[in-house]
C-alpha cells in the first residue's frame, strides 16, 4: 500500500490497576515499559496470561489510558488522542465482526467512515477480498462463514483503511491447531506484502517465533528480554525467558569457579567446563545452567555416564529422561539411530558446551 510505514515507540509506560484482594495495593499491568518497533517491522509481545501484553496493546489502540508514560506513533504522541482518531488497525481475539453486516459491509465500514466515493470503496474492497481469497463470500454474514474465513475478513477490515500500525490481539487463538499454523504463515505474508508496522500479542511461543522480526518476552508488566527469536532462544537472559521459549533443563552447577566478561568456569555434573554466562549473573549469587534437551548427544565416547529413566517416541524425535550424576534431565534425540535403547540402559552422553548458559537462579514460581 502507498502509505509510508511509521514506527512505534513506547517510553516509560506505566499502567496500574487497583489490586483485588487488599484495598491498598495495586497491580502493575505495565511497569515502566520502553520499546520500539521499526517501520514495517512485526514485533511480538509474548508472555503468560496476565503478563500485561494485552493491556499494552490496548493502550496503543487507545482503549486504555496509561497511568504515565508516552506512546509515539510516527512522530505523534498519541496517549491523549481518542482511539477513533489514532489511525491504528486492530484484529481482535474474537474477530469482533459486525454480526448484522455482510462480509462486504464489514470490510467497507472503515472506508465509508472516511467518506470515500462508492466506486472507489467497491474497487478497494474487491481488491482486498481477492488478496485474502474471500471474494466469493462478500454477501455472506459472519455467522455463515468458517472460522478461518472470519479471520481473513477481520484482517481485511483492519488493513483496508491503511492504518499506520496494525495491532493483533491473539488473533489465532480461536482456530484449531492445523489452521492456526497455516493462517500464521498467511498473516505474515500479507503483513510483509502490505509492509505495515505491526504489534502482535500471543502466548504461543512457536507462533511468536514463526512470524516475528523481533520478540519481546513479558512477565508481570515488565519486559524480560527483547530480540530476534534466535537471540532469545540461544542467549536468554534469565531462567524465565529460557523456560518460556523452548524447553530447557536447569541444573545447579556444583560450583562456579569464575565469572567475568560473559564467560563462566563452572563445575557441572562432576566436570569442569567454560560456558557462556548471562550478563544478569552476579558473583556469589545462586545460578543454574541451562541445558536444552537437544544439546545432549548420545555417543559411545560421551564423557558423562547416564541411565535411561523413561522413553517416549514422538516421530521426529525420541525423548529420554536421563539420570546424569543423580540429576533427572530431559533429552531429545533427533538422530533416530538410538531407537534400540531401552529404559534402564546405561549409556554415555556429551554436552554441546557452546550452547550451555549460566543464568541467575529464579526462585519465583511464575511461569
Amino acid at each position: 500500500m502507498n502509505n509510508e510505514a511509521v514506527g512505534v515507540e513506547i517510553r516509560d509506560l506505566v499502567k496500574t490497576f487497583p489490586a483485588f484482594d487488599d484495598k491498598k495495593g495495586e497491580v502493575y499491568a505495565a511497569n515502566h515499559v520502553t520499546l520500539s518497533v521499526q517501520p514495517g517491522e512485526l514485533v511480538t509481545l509474548l508472555g503468560p496470561s496476565g503478563c500485561g501484553k494485552t493491556t499494552l496493546l490496548r493502550m496503543v489502540a487507545g482503549f486504555l489510558m496509561p497511568t504515565s508514560g508516552e506512546i509515539f506513533i510516527g512522530n505523534r504522541e498519541v496517549s491523549k488522542i481518542p482511539p477513533n482518531k489514532r489511525n491504528v488497525g486492530m484484529m481482535f481475539q474474537s474477530y469482533a465482526l459486525f454480526p448484522h453486516m455482510t462480509v462486504y459491509d464489514n470490510v467497507a465500514y472503515g472506508l465509508k467512515l472516511k467518506h470515500m466515493g462508492k466506486t472507489e470503496i467497491r474497487e478497494r474492497v474487491k481488491g482486498i477480498l481477492q488478496l485474502m481469497q474471500i471474494e466469493n463470500y462478500a454477501s455472506r454474514f459472519p455467522n455463515e462463514i468458517s472460522g478461518g474465513q472470519q479471520q481473513r475478513v477481520a484482517l481485511a477490515r483492519a488493513v483496508i483503511t491503511e492504518p499506520n500500525v496494525l495491532l493483533f490481539d491473539e488473533p489465532l487463538s480461536n482456530l484449531d491447531a492445523k489452521l492456526r499454523e497455516y493462517m500464521r504463515e498467511e498473516l505474515r505474508k500479507i503483513q510483509k506484502r502490505v509492509g505495515i508496522t505491526s504489534l502482535y500479542v500471543t502466548h504461543d511461543q512457536s507462533e511468536a517465533m514463526a512470524i516475528s522480526d523481533k520478540v519481546i518476552i513479558m512477565r508481570s508488566g515488565k519486559i524480560e528480554q527483547a530480540g530476534t527469536a534466535m537471540e532469545i532462544y540461544a542467549r536468554p537472559k534469565n531462567q524465565f525467558v529460557a523456560g518460556f521459549i523452548g524447553k530447557a533443563n536447569f541444573v545447579r552447577p556444583d560450583s562456579v569457579l569464575s565469572l567475568s566478561g560473559g564467560k563462566a568456569e563452572v563445575e557441572l555434573l562432576g566436570r569442569r567446563m567454560t560456558i557462556d554466562a548471562s550478563e544478569e549473573c552476579r558473583n556469589g549469587e545462586p545460578c543454574v545452567v541451562m541445558i536444552r534437551p537437544e544439546d545432549i548427544k548420545i555417543s559411545p565416547e560421551g564423557k558423562f555416564k547416564a541411565r535411561i529413566i523413561s522413553k517416549a517416541y514422538f516421530g521426529q524425535y525420541i525423548r529420554h529422561f536421563l539420570d546424569i550424576a543423580g540429576q533427572e534431565i530431559e533429552q531429545m534425540d533427533f538422530t533416530q539411530s538410538n531407537a534400540a535403547l531401552q529404559v534402564g540402559d546405561e549409556i554415555a552422553v556429551n554436552l554441546v558446551t557452546d550452547s550451555l548458559r549460566l543464568l541467575p537462579l529464579d526462585d519465583t514460581e511464575e511461569t
Binding site: 506505566v14 496500574t16 491498598k24 495495586e26 489502540a61 482503549f63 489510558m65 497511568t67 504515565s68 496517549s79 491523549k80 488522542i81 481518542p82 482511539p83 477513533n84 482518531k85 489511525n87 491504528v88 488497525g89 486492530m90 481482535f92 481475539q93 474474537s94 469482533a96 465482526l97 459486525f98 454480526p99 448484522h100 453486516m101 455482510t102 462486504y104 459491509d105 465500514y109 472503515g110 467512515l113 472516511k114 467497491r122 474492497v125 474487491k126 462478500a138 454477501s139 454474514f141 477490515r157 483492519a158 483503511t161
Partner: protein
C-alpha cells in the same frame, strides 16, 4: 520525597484527569452524558424533590408542618394507610403463591398446554388496568350477569376489600409468575436431581430443596407485588368503595377538595413503603439469591409426570385461565350489547358512542404514546449504552435516577409533575409535552434494563472494532450497538408503548381540556355507569395494542434488517 501512598494518589488523580481530558475531546459523548443528566434531574429527581418541599412548606415557602398536622388529625389518613398496607400484604402473599404454583407447574411438570397457559398468564400485563375490575362489575355487581341473572342475588355489593383483593391478585400474579419462572428456570436443577438420587420423595425434594432455594425469589416477588398493590390506583378507584386506600384518597383530596398539599402528603406516604420494598428487593434479596448463571448447561430437570401432582395443578391453572378468559370475554361481549342486563341485542352503539365522544381521546392517546415510545426506547438504549460501556463520574446517580420514576407510585409522580411544572420557569401543565414526558420517564427504566441486559451479552470488542476503524461514539452507537440491540429495542419499544397507552395514575392529573387520554375516559365512563362505553374503550385499547405489536415489528425489522446484496 512523597510517600508511596501519596504518589499513588497523585498518579490516580492524573489518570482521572487524563480520562476527563479524553472525555472533553469526545464532544459527542460528553454532550450525551450532560444531556442525559439534565433530563434525568429535571424530570426524575426534581418533581419528587418538589413534592417533598410542597408538603413541608406553606405558600410563602416557609417550613410549616401544619399541613402534616392537618392530615394526621383531620383526615382518615391512618385508616387509609392501614387499609393500603393490609391490602398490599394480602395481595402480595396470595398473588405470589398463585404465581409460584403457576411457575412450578410450567417449569417442573409435564403439563399439557404449557404455551397456552403461558400466554394467558401474560395477558393481564398487556391489558389496560381496569379490564378485570370492569368485568367484575359486569358479572358480579348489582346488576351483574352472574349475581343478578343467574343467582338472583339483589344488590350484591362488590365494593370493598374482598373483590378489590381478588382483582388485584388476578392482575398482579403474572408479575410473580414471570419473576418466579425465570428463577426456577435458572435454579441449578442438578441439586434437585441429586436430592432425588439420594432417595428423597417428590414432596421431600420440593420441601427440602426446591422451596428453600426459591425463597429469595418468592420474597422478591412478594415485595414487588406489595409495592404494586400499594401504588395501584385504577382498581381501587373503581372497586374500593368505602374501603379507603391511600392512592384513591390522595386523588380525592386533589380532585374533590382541590387540596394539593394534603394530596401530595398522602401520595408521599405511599412512596415511602414502596421505595422501602423496592430497596429491600433490590439490594438485600437479590444478593441472597441462589441463582448462578454460569453459561454452562447443568442438565435438565426431570419433569414431574405423576398424575396426583400434575392433575391438581392443571385444574388450578385451567380454572384461573378460564376465569381470565371469562373476564376478557365479558368485556368484549358487553361492548357489543345494547344495554347490559336489560336489552341483550347486538349492536355497535357503544362503538359509535366512543367514536363520537372519545375520538379526540383515542387520537391523543395514539399520538402521545407514539411520540413517547421511540423517545423512551432511544433514551433507554442510550443510557444503557453509557452505563454498560462507558466510564464517567456519576454513573450510579444516572442509574438510580433512571429507575426512580418507575419505583415511585404513579400518583406521586403525577402530583410531583403538577407541583413542579405548573409555574414558571418551567410551565408545562396543560400541554401535550408534560404527558409525553410523564410517559417517557415512567417507562424509562424498562428500556434501560432491556438495553443493558442485551448489551452485556454483546462482546465489547465489536464496538471497539468500530471505534478502531475511526467511528465516533455516536456513529458506533447508531450503526453498531443499536442494530445489535434490535430485539431488546423491540421489546423495549413494545413495553413502553403498552405502558404509555394503558397508564392511568401518572397521567390522570396531567390531562387537560386540550389533551385527553383513553384510560382517563374509561375511568369516567365507569364512574358514570356507562359500562358498555367503558367496555368498548377497553376493547379499542386492546386492539390498538395488538396492532402496535405488528406495526412495531415491521418498523424495527425494516430499520435494522440485515441487508444482503450482491456486490457485482
Amino acid at each position: 520525597m512523597d510517600s508511596p501512598g501519596k504518589a499513588r494518589k497523585k498518579q490516580q488523580k492524573s489518570e482521572k484527569r487524563k480520562e476527563f481530558l479524553m472525555l472533553i475531546r469526545q464532544p459527542g459523548l460528553l454532550f450525551a452524558i450532560i444531556f442525559v443528566f439534565a433530563v434525568l434531574i429535571l424530570f426524575c429527581i426534581y418533581p419528587i424533590v418538589r413534592l417533598f418541599i410542597s408538603c413541608l412548606t406553606d405558600k410563602s415557602g416557609q417550613l410549616n408542618l401544619d399541613n402534616i398536622n392537618y392530615v394526621f388529625t383531620k383526615t382518615d389518613f391512618f385508616q387509609a394507610f392501614w387499609n393500603s398496607i393490609k391490602l398490599g400484604l394480602f395481595v402480595g402473599l396470595m398473588a405470589t403463591i398463585v404465581g409460584y404454583l403457576y411457575a412450578f407447574a410450567i417449569t417442573r411438570t409435564k403439563l399439557p398446554g404449557k404455551k397456552f397457559f403461558n400466554i394467558m398468564a401474560i395477558l393481564p400485563i398487556l391489558s389496560p388496568p381496569f379490564v378485570i375490575s370492569l368485568a367484575v362489575m359486569l358479572l358480579f355487581g348489582r346488576s351483574g350477569l352472574i349475581t343478578k341473572n343467574l343467582l338472583h342475588i339483589r344488590g350484591n355489593n362488590i365494593y370493598g376489600f374482598t373483590w378489590l383483593s381478588i382483582v388485584q391478585i388476578l392482575s398482579l400474579f403474572p408479575l410473580a409468575y414471570l419473576n418466579l419462572k425465570g428463577m426456577l428456570e435458572t435454579l441449578d436443577s442438578s441439586v434437585e436431581n441429586a436430592s432425588r438420587t439420594l432417595g428423597a420423595s417428590r414432596l421431600k425434594v420440593f420441601l427440602t430443596v426446591t422451596l428453600p432455594l426459591s425463597l429469595p425469589g418468592f420474597l422478591s416477588s412478594f415485595l414487588i407485588i406489595f409495592a404494586k398493590s400499594l401504588c395501584d390506583f385504577g382498581n381501587p378507584q373503581v372497586l374500593a368503595g368505602d374501603y379507603n386506600v391511600l392512592s384513591v384518597s390522595a386523588y380525592l383530596q386533589i380532585v374533590g377538595l382541590f387540596d394539593l398539599k394534603t394530596g401530595s402528603f398522602i401520595a408521599l406516604s405511599i412512596l415511602l413503603p414502596c421505595m422501602l420494598a423496592y430497596l429491600i428487593q433490590n439490594y438485600w434479596v437479590s444478593k441472597r439469591s441462589f441463582i448462578t448463571v454460569t453459561g454452562k448447561a447443568t442438565g435438565t430437570v426431570e419433569l414431574i409426570r405423576e398424575k396426583k401432582i400434575v392433575i391438581p395443578l392443571f385444574v388450578i391453572l385451567l380454572l384461573l385461565t378460564l376465569f381470565t378468559i371469562l373476564m376478557y370475554g365479558t368485556v368484549v361481549y358487553v361492548s357489543f350489547v345494547k344495554t347490559w342486563g336489560v336489552n341483550w341485542s347486538m349492536t355497535l352503539d357503544s362503538y359509535q358512542f366512543i367514536l363520537k365522544r372519545g375520538e379526540r381521546a383515542i387520537k391523543d392517546t395514539l399520538l402521545l404514546s407514539s411520540i413517547a415510545t421511540p423517545c423512551t426506547a432511544l433514551l433507554g438504549m442510550l443510557i444503557a449504552f453509557l452505563l454498560v460501556r462507558k466510564n464517567f463520574f456519576g454513573k450510579r446517580l444516572m442509574s438510580a435516577a433512571s429507575i426512580l420514576p418507575f419505583a415511585v407510585p404513579g400518583i406521586a409522580l403525577g402530583i410531583g409533575y403538577v407541583v413542579a411544572f405548573n409555574t414558571k420557569p418551567i410551565q408545562l401543565t396543560g400541554t401535550a409535552l408534560i404527558i409525553i414526558v410523564a410517559m417517557v420517564f415512567r417507562t424509562l427504566s424498562i428500556g434501560v434494563e432491556t438495553g443493558s441486559n442485551s448489551l452485556r451479552q454483546v462482546d465489547p470488542s465489536i464496538e471497539e472494532a468500530a471505534i478502531n476503524l475511526g467511528a465516533g461514539n455516536a456513529r458506533t452507537f447508531f450503526t453498531i450497538s443499536l442494530p445489535i440491540m434490535k430485539s431488546a429495542l423491540f421489546s423495549g419499544l413494545l413495553n413502553s408503548f403498552i405502558r404509555s397507552m394503558t397508564s392511568v395514575s401518572a397521567v390522570i392529573f396531567l390531562v387537560s381540556v386540550n389533551w385527553n387520554l383513553l384510560t382517563v375516559n374509561i375511568l369516567s365512563e365507569i364512574e358514570s355507569n356507562r359500562l358498555g362505553a367503558a367496555s368498548a374503550y377497553c376493547v379499542a385499547l386492546m386492539v390498538m395494542v395488538v396492532l402496535a405489536v405488528g406495526v412495531l415489528e415491521f418498523i424495527v425489522n425494516g430499520l435494522f434488517a440485515r441487508r444482503r446484496r450482491s456486490y457485482e
